[in-house]
Symmetry: C2
């Protein structure tokens, strides 16, 4: 593959009334934007139009990026008019593509259906514009289609997310890289928790300033309770040197904020916790008040979590804190349910009751009501009880009830992670 420094642009054209009227959130555009960006293309625009021939033709005709990724409108129902529009736009006609038909029949056979059960509507999916190059769809009947015109590449794909993703990842992106030789990019994503975007940016300001000299760009990717830092650098001339430069700066970042970094890449906090518990042969139990089950939900969203997660108690009522977690009534009366001593006793109580190595607790005011001057909405106490004793921490979270719950959940998981 040749390398070049010319910027190669990409845009998305998403077709479907369901996107316009808000029935479906356009996750495809985000997925495609990230995928092409990580492959060295620059996403410059996304457009969404309805199932309307004039609008689709207009959008195709006003494309201006090097790569135009089209999704949607390829199903066998009558609403789906993308193929008709493509034929008009490229001045071609629908013809039967035998290799696509064979794939459709095979797909049905794999699902245990005999060829005679394949319906005419399904076989119609093998009718594609004559001038296109089919892009195989391993997980569905709607083929992707590659067109070229005046130096521009148009790729039409189905709107079903996992079908689009499989076609783009396995067939379109490799071919696009071959065709355009975009600048290749080295990137590394470092995940932090327990600090907001602004204080984090202040803490690493000097380091961040030094990145430019190495040709490295930095992106802050915040979500409730955490911030991901993505380092990226063009790697054309010398990929090995580019990777070394990124790794060196990542290393420097680890030296700067060691405690705040919990993982890299696509790894979630709850996965990191699972890996550590599994490695140590230890178990976890959770006692939740204000987070109401969300901590347990994230922990158990990880496949195989039953190996280290024994269970939890959602102690919404004080009576449950007393009975199930052995929190003394006097403690609740004296300090209130949202307090350090109660958080500590909850963590110790669930650890003792379930016989786990670690106990994690949360107690706070998620809002919107229930706040007082002493315990305002957003105040959350968290505690971890473990083999070396109990630690507690408090935070005051801003935002809606849902955001307070999400932020408290991530912050509690991070408190546990630091203790392991």
């Amino acid at each position: 593959m040749k390398t070049t420094t010319r910027e190669v642009t990409a845009e998305c054209l998403c077709i479907g009334d369901e996107l316009l009227i808000g029935q479906t959130i356009n996750t495809n555009a985000a997925w495609m934007g990230e995928a092409v960006g990580l492959s060295g293309f620059r996403p410059v625009r996304t457009r969404v139009v309805g199932d309307d021939e004039a609008d689709i033709l207009d959008a195709l005709g006003t494309a201006r990026a090097d790569v135009v990724l089209v999704t949607g409108g390829l199903g066998p129902t009558k609403d789906d008019i993308t193929k008709r529009c493509l034929c008009r736009f490229f001045g071609t006609r629908l013809v039967r593509h035998p290799e696509v038909e064979a794939h459709i029949v095979e797909l049905f056979e794999r699902r245990g259906l005999e060829p005679r059960h394949v319906k005419e509507a399904d076989l119609r999916q093998a009718l594609l514009p004559e001038s296109c190059i089919p892009m195989p769809n391993a997980v569905g009947t709607a083929s992707g289609m590659w067109f070229e015109r005046e130096g521009r590449v148009y790729v039409s794909m189905p709107g079903v997310p996992y079908e689009m993703q499989a076609i783009l990842r396995d067939h379109v992106l490799p071919r696009l890289r071959e065709r355009f030789s975009p600048p290749s990019i080295v990137h590394r994503t470092i995940r932090t928790a327990g600090i907001g975007e602004t204080p984090l940016s202040e803490r690493i300001a000097a380091w961040e300033e030094g990145l430019a000299a190495d040709g490295i760009r930095l992106a802050y990717l915040p979500s409730p309770g955490q911030v991901k830092l993505r380092l990226s650098r063009y790697a054309n001339a010398d990929p090995v040197a580019a990777k070394a430069a990124v790794d060196r700066q990542a290393q420097a970042l680890y030296g700067l904020i060691p405690g705040l970094i919990y993982g890299e890449g696509g790894q979630e906090l709850e996965e990191v916790i699972g890996i550590r518990l599994k490695a140590a042969g230890q178990t976890l139990a959770v006692a939740e008040s204000c987070t109401g089950g969300h901590v347990s939900h994230l922990i158990t969203s990880v496949p195989g979590s039953s190996a280290y997660f024994l269970g939890g108690v959602v102690s919404y009522a004080n009576e449950v804190k007393r009975k199930e977690l052995d929190v003394p009534e006097a403690l609740l009366r004296e300090h209130g349910a949202v307090s350090r001593p109660v958080a500590e006793r909850m963590a110790e109580g669930v650890r003792a009751a379930l016989g786990s190595d670690w106990g994690l607790s949360t107690t706070g005011v998620a809002g919107p009501d229930g706040g007082t001057p002493e315990t305002p909405v957003g105040l959350v106490w968290m505690a971890v009880a473990g083999p070396r004793g109990t630690v507690a921490a408090q935070s005051l979270f801003a935002g809606t009830r849902s955001l307070v719950i999400q932020r408290a959940t991530v912050t509690a998981l991070d408190l546990l992670r630091r203790s392991l």
Copy 2:
């Protein structure tokens, strides 16, 4: 307000590199599309561009709908260039709007900050294009802005979803309806659970065919475990008759599938359950295995749920089922953890342990591993124990671990709803 039959179109222009590179999923476009659609406007297009002056100006200049809703790029940081672009596009300049400045100071006071702590960057938010009409932002410092040019209305709003929503709902939509008098629409959304989209469409096929004669359109809005049915009808000539026609068909639907309907409009299943429990003065406790805390999480996502939700036990390990929920070891050995008797005992056990009126339980195989021929991945038993005894049900859910958990959660909540 006059009424008209002229179609009034709307388009969205969303600004932000984070949308293009897939860092943020564009939920704003979906929300705005639904909101304007329900208000009688026809959403025709969405465009997303990056934080680039030329691209923003080009997009503003090529707008073609009657209403152009612009979001993003209004923060106080240097990336946010929307206001500069608006000034250039409308040939105006930034001036201090005293009423917006007063609002910003008041917002900080409400958060307990004195006026002297309001930073210059915050006050810069009171600088708005001279020719705009400010649209108040009750929940943030970035004001909305209304412009008109050549019969077209442009409204610029912040990209923070809850700020955009508050401005659009409370100020922009009323003013747009006043300005354009779009065809008014009567709509009613009926929420069902416990049946998939295809079997539901088969069950109500005859009813659905009769809608056209009444001028009513039907949309299926599926999400894991539930399907919403939206009936809508233009109401220009005779709003009273239009509403009556929609209500009559809704009534017919209630007669057809009474047990499957749990609510209407924006009401979630967990809210309906909360309302019923509150009205009956009854309490709930939850015992979760495969749903791992997600049922408790949804129940406690409802503000005020502490009035009826006592708490729950996440009994991932069998030992926890025995100790905390009093499930006999013999039962687990004989029937396995994923079985009717164990689900029943879990619901009864948590009801007894926490002293609630109702107990709800789940036990199943969320996958991707852990399935056997007898208890395959996706098999979930659910039970409800209450004043009139215990009922149980099983389902076999398709999809990923995350989907199985979501579907099981909704189906368990629906089993409880039917029992109340």
